[in-house]
């Protein structure tokens, strides 16, 4: 007869520790009680986002604990010149017997921002996984349909050189502007939205790079390195490259986000994507590239611009610093609009390269300018005179 030795495992125990098992103080207090929701009901997004990044002006009683070499810790509000109400109030001073109370939550207006996309991990992975899955399917379907055989050699070259060159813009801004800015803003709501924006950019850069790899394998004579040459030395791209590099050099995180998403994207990004590639590709027999470019366009128009506008709208309408903020934003517009317009104009030769021509460059630029003016109008910002140049 064999005996079985009892395995050593934890034993389940009935504890009755589920909600509602007893009545006592706080037994029904099942909402986070340390912030005021933007709408009547606290959203799931707010619950997982608000207050994760602390603030010495309200609850952070002992202040920041580690500083840079200049003694500044945490997320200094002066990392941008823009101000939200309450910004100028000093941090509470602590000492023997001071207590730990700060200003009443939220203490300043930065904490009022909510990402309208309500991005957190569940949403960002769902969204981006759907995008890459769909793009893979589109490309697979095109391969099976021998779709690339329809392309003229001229269009093959255009895709290799110029659509390929665009990946560098996305990569550079995604890493060195947006990812960099995720360390800079004073609340978790800002920084999470910015980090998701960063991933859109880096993903779309990789989408284009891997598409380029597929085309190298599918199309005889497709030069998979032509995009590097175009980006490095083709005069058509040097204006865009210069302004993209200049964007990554901005010190002020608000200026960086504003210049990229409010000025650069409509005047250059949408000009290239919606008013060149999307218009030219169908006439040249290409139904695949527009699906990649369209995904990127959706990233910007329906996600990244969608959070950027309310982020700055709060500052434009700020109860204490509206004029201050408006002045700086208009200065930024005056600086970045001419830079972006100059860069946009250097792209003009691209409009004449495809066999089947897209609508004229000037019409395309007008559409981009109108789009840009519309964004400013939505935000109640004056259209800068520099747009007319």
């Amino acid at each position: 007869m064999t005996t079985t030795q009892e395995r050593s495992v934890p034993k389940p125990v009935f504890t009755d520790a589920e909600a509602g098992a007893r009545e006592f103080p706080d037994s029904n207090a099942r909402k986070f009680n340390y912030f005021v929701s933007a709408k009547r009901k606290q959203s799931h997004y707010e619950d997982v986002t608000v207050e994760v990044q602390p603030d010495p002006r309200h609850y952070l009683a002992q202040g920041w604990l580690y500083g840079f070499s200049d003694g500044k810790g945490g997320y200094p509000l002066e990392w941008t010149v823009l101000k939200a109400w309450g910004t100028d109030r000093p941090e509470p001073v602590r000492g023997p017997g001071s207590g730990g109370q700060g200003y009443e939550w939220p203490a300043h207006g930065w904490h009022e921002f909510r990402d309208p996309n309500e991005e957190w991990e569940l949403t960002l992975y769902r969204y981006n996984a759907n995008v890459v899955r769909q793009l893979n399917q589109n490309i697979e379907a095109a391969k099976r349909a021998k779709a690339f055989e329809q392309w003229s050699s001229n269009w093959v070259q255009f895709v290799a050189q110029h659509i390929g060159a665009w990946m560098h813009v996305n990569h550079g801004l995604g890493l060195y502007l947006f990812a960099n800015a995720n360390r800079r803003a004073p609340t978790n709501m800002h920084n999470n939205a910015i980090s998701v924006n960063s991933m859109h950019k880096i993903r779309s850069a990789q989408d284009l790079a891997l598409y380029n790899l597929t085309l190298s394998e599918e199309i005889d004579g497709f030069d998979g390195t032509a995009h590097v040459e175009a980006w490095n030395s083709d005069p058509v791209w040097q204006g865009v490259r210069e302004v993209a590099e200049q964007l990554t050099g901005i010190d002020d995180w608000c200026e960086a986000i504003f210049a990229a998403n409010i000025v650069f994207e409509p005047l250059i990004g949408e000009l290239f994507r919606s008013n060149l590639v999307q218009q030219a590709a169908p006439g040249n027999g290409d139904f695949v590239t527009p699906t990649l470019i369209g995904a990127e366009e959706y990233d910007y128009a329906e996600r990244d611009l969608r959070y950027t506008k309310p982020m700055f709208q709060l500052l434009i309408d700020d109860r204490e610093f509206a004029e201050h903020n408006r002045r700086h934003l208009e200065q930024w517009l005056a600086a970045w609009v001419p830079r972006c317009l100059n860069a946009a104009r250097t792209l003009q030769p691209l409009w004449s390269l495809p066999d089947a021509k897209p609508p004229r460059f000037e019409d395309a630029l007008d559409r981009s300018k109108n789009r840009f003016s519309g964004i400013l109008s939505d935000m109640d910002l004056r259209v800068p005179k520099e747009l007319d140049q």
Binding site: N33, Y66, G73, A129, A179, N182
Partner: protein, 550 residues
Amino acid sequence: MSRQSVAKAHQKIQELSWEPAYHEPVSHYGTDYTFRKAKKKDPLKQVLRSYFPMQEEKDHRVYGAEDGAIRGNMFRQVQERWLEWQKLFLSIIPLPEISAARAMPLLFRTVPNPELHNGQAIQMIDEVRHSTIQQNLKRLYMQNYIDPAGFNSSLRNFQNDYCGTIGRQFAEGFITGDAITAASIYLTIVAETAFTNTLFVAMPAEAAANGDYLLPTVFHSVQSDESRHISNGYATLLMALSDESNHQLLARDLRYAWWNNHRVVDAAIGTFIEYGTKDRRKDRESYAEMWRRWIYDDYYRSYLVPLEKYGLEIPHDLIEESWNQIWHKGYVHEVAQFFATGWLANYWRIDPMTDEDFEWFEHKYPGWYNKYGKWWENYNRLSVPNGHNPIALEDVDYVYPHRCWTCMVPCLVREDMVVDKVDGQWRTYCHEACRWTDAEAFRPTYQGRSTPNMGQLIGSREWETLYHGWNWADIVSDMGFVRDDGKTLVAQPHLDLDPKKMWTLDHLRRCPPLQSPNVVLNEMTDEERAAFQADYNRQGPAGRPAGSVS
């Protein structure tokens, strides 16, 4: 994608980076390390085309398990002793996670290797995942566990409680100071490579033993991302090692990062695992046993030691001393005892230990009862209000400790406590290594070498200072640790939810005021301070005279 296509895809995305031709990217963060440009490979070859669907699939599993736990009434089997400590842990951990995301840009300009930047950007968004998935778990606990108090006020509590503050340095250490010290050595080389083993693997295993299978579900999913982050750190470390001028700084930073992680993580996780469990099977591993396996063998001997031949100066003495603290000096037991002593300033309930617990501790840590048993019996005796004060204010042969200025855990191993006058203030430190961190490492000059990018320890680092001279009822009200009847404390030194057995502000009102040990220290004469230190260093467990039993 096949393995081959992953390799090709990863190779392809290396074409994305470019050298600036017109303008340099902004350089916000400094380092005293020097890096030569080197073709260091991103070891994990992750591309977003496969990354996003992979993470989505992991999410499906996590959220499916969460739905299942609710439908299956998991909370009918969850040990309250365990879940209460999660009020502390889950109030702390989302900030270190999101801070790790924020830390990645510190490396972009300081580590000149675009291939690594790709891995760092993926780590950034991984950390956003971790922070929000953990917040979501806490939300689920708040909604479904019997006592939501402490979960519902979590992120306010964490910001003003002394335990939260101890944990917070784990986050702030990632994002400030010298970029390499913070985002590479402290974060990836030590915190992630060494201590996530106990944080995200050992602790969830204990959760499962206490009826909670959601913590393992979430944290094992988190840990599956950590291998990428460990690789990021390793690649940066090898680049740093290739320049001999960095060796002195690496030695400094490894000492600081190791010791601080040991002080903070072992204090918290050791307490959760040893004092938050109801699983007292004699053959289940103790924290010390886990530590020996996960950290000493797997990290120290298998990961760090092989790097010695490349010139890495390893703090063997501090690693051995950490083990000594855990095994011989009762570090975890002292911390747990202190947390329980200070229950009234917290936002969770701490269950008294029982005879079964005593037996287990004595089995795992021979001699435990003589050091701590009597005190825990007193804790049990004084747990329900009955005309007496909370245990911290009763005579139970316990000396309230001074706080370490650096790690902010109190100076609990009394013989190791050091006093020094730094920046014009008398400060106590739990150990010479913590004094060195404040007085020597975090300075603009280190061993005669200019280190202008090194960070500073800042802030009001002794919690008691803020409430010096305050009545305890006012302290707890000020922190907001009061339930919705306006008087019952969130914290309790027992698990009984009968309102008649719960402590209220009225019970605290009659207690004597709090005295800040640091304020008192700075009011002493030189002679008084020397006598104080000599007496403190003579103390044994719980502050009793060395050699005495509890």
